[in-house]
Amino acid sequence: MAATTESVKADAAEAPLLNKTNLWAGIALYLVFYSFIRWYEGVYGWSAGLDSFAPEFETYWMNMLYIELVLEVVISAALWGYLWKSRDRKVMSITPREELRRHFTHWTWLVCYGWAIYWGASYFTEQDGTWHQTIVRDTDFTPSHIIEFYLSYPIYIITGVAAFLYAKTRLPTYNEGLHLMYMVVVIGPFMILPNVGLNEWGHTFWFMEELFVAPLHYGFVFFGWAALGILGVLNTEVMAITKLLKKDLA
């Protein structure tokens, strides 16, 4: 009886397997932040974003670019550095229950990563199309580019690398080496950034129609395919979780 009471007390004191507060906070963080960004675009895109030679363009758009670039470097260094410095050096000796808890935390990262991919690759990328069909570009740093290339893409790269680092440093599943598809998922989007350079170089030197299906853009397509690497990560996770549960759920 006493042992049972102690066990129940221990269970009650134990951290939950899935920290739902962190999960919803992660989703809400991106939603609120990007809603603010969309509001900013709506207000300052038309009023200050049409002419890159105008003083107000410098105030509202170039300053935003400088601020976001600095913040991205600082946040990625701090986040990735923290995940690496606080790594578990005895990862192979954790209990199955702790491992399961960490898989939930890993999936909280992956949910945020999927959510960040949506905003970057879907929402702000197609948005760029509508802006350039309406406003002729006179600089590489148009309002839609300052959000798409230099804000939303880095955010999903930062999130993806953080998820990868969490898995690598805290889960026994990923201890045997570098997971090929995880690398594809994380490095693929990163390679979009060099392609941004090619894209802007092309648009600068060739007067082009704003055709979305122009071959100059195919590099983005190729690296977009890397998102499918999530299938390999999913399969690995399902195998690991099934092994941990050891229960017939049929």
Binding site: V111, E210, V221, E237
Partner: protein, 249 residues
């Protein structure tokens, strides 16, 4: 706790854990496929999908199925062969359409003021359902590629025709015969519209579907078969669980 023990304390908890993972996996898969598929589709078939007057062209009937059968084939290759879930194509297409609809409302209409009836996304759902059903009933990748892939290409135009039919109503404008879709494009000129589309083709009835649309759809269906095969194998490759040796570990 021994390594041979379960991480959960009861079957009920195992079920609860499993369901929680299901939702998190579904959300991540849906949003990641949405992002990858959307960037792929908008940069390979996008212009023909953005504008109603471009949807009036035969190239739309030809290009849209060929470039859109890619992700459905790849996701099927994982969800069917690993989990026997015959929903890969439908999930992919629903993800793409959700992303497109949000964009057309929030950005095309909400930011740059294009009317939604000028920019609505193409309907890919009938082809995706058939692709999944053929795989489910046949259980064969070859059958799905040949029959499902062909159906995917052939169903695209009739699947959209009820939506675009009203925009094919002919109107006379400044002495020229237009479609309603053409007239919309004439009044909402885009900076990137190529001259040959904007000026040359405009105002002729040869942009109607008529007898050339089925011919274009058949060509599209044949190419869709090949693209299905190719992307099925891409999907299998992306589903790998291999590790690269890590010297640091």
């Amino acid at each position: 706790m021994s390594a041979s023990q379960s991480a959960v304390r009861s079957r009920a908890e195992a079920v609860q854990v499993s369901r929680a993972f299901d939702w998190m996996i579904l959300f991540t898969l849906f949003t990641a496929v949405l992002g990858g598929y959307h960037i792929h589709y908008m940069l390979t078939g996008g212009d023909w999908d953005f504008w109603t007057d471009w949807k009036d062209r035969r190239l739309w009937v030809t290009v849209a199925p060929i470039v859109s059968i890619t992700f459905p084939a790849a996701v099927q290759a994982c969800l069917w062969w690993r989990y026997r879930l015959p929903v890969g194509a439908t999930v992919s297409v629903l993800a793409l359409l959700l992303g497109e609809w949000i964009n057309r409302y929030m950005n095309f209409w909400g930011w740059t003021y294009f009317p939604v009836n000028f920019v609505f996304p193409s309907n890919l759902i009938p082809g995706a359902i058939v692709l999944d059903v053929v795989l489910m009933l046949g259980g064969s990748m070859t059958l799905t590629a040949v029959v499902g892939g062909m159906a995917y290409g052939l169903l695209f135009y009739p699947g959209n025709w009820p939506i675009i039919a009203p925009l094919h109503v002919p109107v006379e404008y400044n002495g020229m015969m237009f479609t309603l879709a053409d007239l919309q494009g004439y009044h909402y000129v885009r900076t990137g519209t190529p001259e040959y589309i904007r000026m040359v083709e405009k105002g002729t009835l040869r942009t109607f579907g008529k007898d050339v649309a089925p011919v274009s759809a058949f060509f599209s269906a044949f190419v869709s078969i090949i693209i299905y095969f190719l992307w099925h194998f891409f999907g299998r490759w992306f589903s790998k669980t291999d590790f690269i040796a890590d010297d640091a570990s």
